[in-house]
């Protein structure tokens, strides 16, 4: 039991981050012709100018929002593995709505309605798994994953079929009107004002978690379900709610991408985001405040990798290895114990 808590030690996470960065450098050394410039492209270029920095931060925004959703589900010991589908389908729903709204609609109304559509779509898909768990005792991990697989294919059908932009060579919907997109900051980068919303949501979660009855009851449900029932907490309701919130956050992340950097719904645009959000939640170690550095780190791995891919011609497979190494170290649970034993002998 005391050993259980060592998992949450910030030192362990820092160690994992450090080791994974060091190993990334090793992999780079093995595969790049010019190690010096590869290292520079990987570690420094994302921060080197306004454009790169803005794009890097923009990549972190959906990770923060979706990662927070995963964290809330974790808090109640629910595992939402359907993020990919929730994000993709919600993005599509939000995109369709924004495309259908009359051209004269106020931009603010478009943003609000699109975000709301995204949240509701994601929440409905997530709640389905929560409901199945509460009523039929179906594992929410399996049902959310399977539902997501279905939803992705259905969305693909719509994007490449009835909603395909006839003027485009890509498999994508039509482009949204520019005035319907979120205002950019750090132009010409793709960073927009949604980063503010992400930070507000994180702070709101921290307050709810620490100071409110809902946060308290959610925590009890996650720690010991039988005890929660003894305390008269409606466990089933919290199960459904946690999955709905988690799905809703994925949905919000998807909707914000469509009315932000993407401007349309392209086939497979979300690929990997759902899983990266789980990495963010794991890395944050259950802490709301931890979401920000965790999302920045995961986004950094992606951005840095893109830079060396373009700059040094290192294949994307190698880049995937870098990310896998990082995740491996972060999720490795035996690390602190081995470390501890070394210290003693």
């Amino acid at each position: 039991m005391p050993a259980e808590r060592e998992l949450h030690s910030p030192a362990r996470v820092m160690l994992a981050v450090g080791v994974s960065i060091a190993l990334s450098a090793v992999v780079l050394a093995l595969f790049s012709k010019d190690l010096g410039s590869a290292l520079e492209q990987f570690f420094l270029e994302p921060f080197s100018n306004r454009y790169f920095l803005g794009n890097y931060l923009a990549d972190a925004v959906p990770l923060m929002i979706a990662g927070l959703g995963v964290l809330i589900a974790f808090r109640s010991k629910n595992f939402n593995l359907g993020g990919e589908g929730q994000l993709y389908a919600s993005a599509l729903a939000a995109g369709v709505l924004a495309l259908r709204l009359p051209a004269g609609t106020a931009p603010f109304a478009v943003w609000f309605l699109a975000a709301l559509t995204g949240v509701l779509t994601g929440a409905a898909i997530g709640a389905l798994s929560g409901l199945l768990k509460a009523v039929r005792h179906v594992s929410e991990m399996i049902s959310s994953f399977l539902v997501s697989a279905i939803v992705i294919n259905v969305s693909d059908f719509f994007i490449t079929g009835p909603l395909q932009d006839p003027a485009s060579n890509f498999q994508t919907t039509r482009q949204l009107a520019p005035k319907f997109l979120l205002p950019r900051i750090l132009a010409p980068s793709k960073l927009d004002i949604s980063i503010g919303l992400a930070l507000v949501l994180i702070v709101a979660f921290m307050i709810v978690d620490k100071r409110t009855k809902i946060g308290f009851e959610l925590k009890i449900c996650g720690e010991n379900e039988e005890f929660a029932r003894y305390c008269g907490i409606p466990v089933a309701a919290y199960q459904i709610a946690a999955m709905a919130i988690s799905g809703g956050m994925y949905g919000l992340a998807g909707a914000l991408l469509v009315i932000g950097p993407q401007g349309r719904v392209m086939r497979g645009f979300s690929s990997g985001l759902g899983w990266s959000a789980i990495s963010v939640a794991l890395l944050a170690q259950g802490s709301g405040a931890g979401i920000v550095p965790a999302a920045l780190f995961i986004a950094f791995l992606g951005t840095g990798s893109d830079h060396i891919m373009i700059g040094s011609g290192i294949p994307s497979e190698i880049v995937s290895i870098l990310q896998a190494v990082a995740m491996f170290f972060i999720t490795a649970r035996s690390l602190p114990r081995i470390w501890k034993k070394r210290g003693q002998s």
């Binding site: 005391p2 009851e217 003894y230």
Partner: protein, 520 residues
């Protein structure tokens, strides 16, 4: 010839972080080989921590350990096992879905004889059951090796756990409060088996609260208080009274009054009729046609040996188990007991206060702080319009810790508390709420030391005098006789005795009903 020293622990200190509680403070222990050595002390005296250090479950901050004369540093449970040290926990750690034999030989399973099957590691399950049976017979245990452990009674689960250690050739067995979950007859049976194990040259360390058990079975006894060793005494040359005063640190214990004075009986608070449950819930017998009522200011004691229906009755009264038939009257309402949500409302509204017998599983969230566990049951009081009142919550927790003499801090992780302190926390939480019409108290003094038990008993009398009705579900006959106005006994799920607790009832008579040798 000088007997060999099996265990020698010197100057063992252990501080739990981050709360900084000093659980062991220079504790000492010396145990002779082939003896039964008891370790006694109040809740939170550091007994369990010292044993966890010996079993490799906790690393001490400082101190030396010698096993069979060899200085050693026990770094893990695996290391302790390699040294022949095994621990039977107070709360068994087993695979509920696996059979008794599979639990006993987990990791040591005999594989099939044919070469191909052996290479594949296919387990020879009939051989496994055979082996378990012969091991059990060797020590005089009687278990069904093929039964899933989750369906067994607590005492049988304990036997499985002990056999598991014996199967691993453990030379030093640690038993942490083994009798706290057993009835008198089961305790007798266990002690016979422990004597048998000692006879075969093994060493037994017995952590307990009960002085009569020490006098009955142990060769030597070590007394601990506040993390320190007070002394080690030979049981043959000390008396129970002497030992009690050493444990209590010279504080005289209050007299326990057996037959109590009868309180004035008030109006009926709850009436149950024709209560039945399906069999097989928790592997139990199922209840049939249970009927009772309990009045304001009255304690109704309900007693049964394990697997005779007490667990089912608790779960029904807790709103965790939907009965198959029965009617209930409470708070002016009459309803079918199958409508569980109707009943649960009374628990939720605080008209009924319930103390679970399984404190680890049902009464605590171990990885949350003590404060959170304390306020969890009366969230109405500690949250105002959905926002926490932290100062109030902390102060109330602190007050309860003080009033119930719990060794804990509000911010401390509950998992760090000893079993007794977690129980006291659960009791403090219940008695700090506004007074309900009915208390349902299940095994309220399980694993508590003498002083805490007396405290709890006097609290129960207080609420009774203040007009609450009390249902006391307990397998401890002394407790039932001490507190109850009326006594009810369950045997195989049937109600075999319901009677006023007058001079007529005594331990022996109740024992006969409990064992089914006498019936109504």
């Amino acid at each position: 010839m000088q007997p060999m020293t099996a265990v020698r622990m010197r100057e063992i200190s252990k501080r739990y972080l981050p709360s900084g509680v000093l659980a062991n403070d220079g504790a000492e222990l010396e145990v002779e080989q082939g003896s039964i050595h008891a370790i006694v002390g109040e809740n939170g005296a550091g007994k369990t921590t010292l044993m966890k250090v010996l079993a490799g479950l906790e690393l001490p901050d400082s101190g030396d350990i010698e096993i069979n004369g060899e200085p050693t540093h026990i770094s893990s449970p695996a290391h302790a096992r390699a040294l022949g040290i095994g621990m039977v926990h107070q709360h068994f750690l087993m695979f509920d879905e696996l059979s008794a034999a599979e639990n006993i030989f987990f990791g040591l399973e005999p594989v099939q004889k044919p070469r191909l099957l052996r290479l594949l590691g296919i387990i020879d399950s009939s051989g496994l059951n055979e082996k378990a049976k012969s091991l059990a017979n060797e020590y005089g245990f009687s278990i069904d090796p093929s039964a899933p452990v989750g369906a067994l009674s607590i005492s049988t689960r304990q036997q499985v756990e002990i056999l598991r250690q014996l199967a691993r050739e453990m030379r030093i067995l640690i038993l942490d409060e083994p009798t706290s979950v057993l009835t008198e007859q089961e305790t007798e049976a266990l002690f016979e088996k422990l004597a048998e194990i000692r006879h075969m040259g093994r060493t037994i360390l017995l952590v307990t609260h009960k002085i009569d058990e020490v006098m009955q079975i142990a060769d030597k006894v070590t007394v601990m208080r506040e993390g320190k060793t007070i002394g080690t005494y030979s049981v043959a040359s000390t008396s129970a009274n002497e030992l009690a005063s050493i444990i209590m640190g010279g504080v005289p214990s209050e007299e326990i009054q057996i037959h109590k004075e009868h309180a004035i009986k008030g109006a009926s608070v709850m009436r149950i009729e024709g209560l039945c449950t399906h069999r097989h819930h928790r592997g139990g017998v199922g209840l049939s046609e249970i009927a009772f009522d309990v009045h304001a200011g009255e304690v109704l004691g309900i007693c049964a040996l394990s697997s005779n229906g007490l667990d089912e009755l608790e779960d029904v009264l807790a709103g965790f188990l939907v009965p198959s038939a029965g009617r209930c009257a409470f708070g002016g309402l009459h309803f079918d007991v199958r409508k569980v949500h109707e009943y649960r409302r009374f628990l939720k509204e605080g008209k009924i206060s319930y103390l679970p017998s399984d404190r680890m599983r049902r009464a605590a969230a171990l990885s949350l702080p003590v404060r959170d566990n304390f306020i969890a049951l009366s969230r109405r009081n500690y949250f105002s319009r959905g926002w926490i009142r932290s100062t109030l919550a902390r102060r109330a927790t602190q007050e309860a810790i003080h009033a119930f003499d719990i060794s804990a801090q509000p911010e401390q992780m509950t998992a760090e508390l000893s079993g007794g302190n977690i129980q006291k926390l659960a009791i403090a939480r219940l008695f700090s709420k506004e007074q309900p019409e009915l208390f349902i108290l299940c095994e309220p003094t399980w694993g508590l030391d003498i002083r805490s038990t007396e405290q709890v008993h006097s609290r129960i009398r207080e609420v009774q005098n203040a007009g609450s009705a009390v249902l006391l579900l307990s397998s401890d006959v002394d407790e039932i006789l001490t507190l109850s106005d009326r006594v009810m006994v369950l045997y195989r799920g049937k109600q075999v005795l319901t009677r006023e607790n007058s001079g007529y009832l005594n331990r022996a008579l109740i024992g006969e009903y409990l064992l089914g040798t006498r019936s109504a």
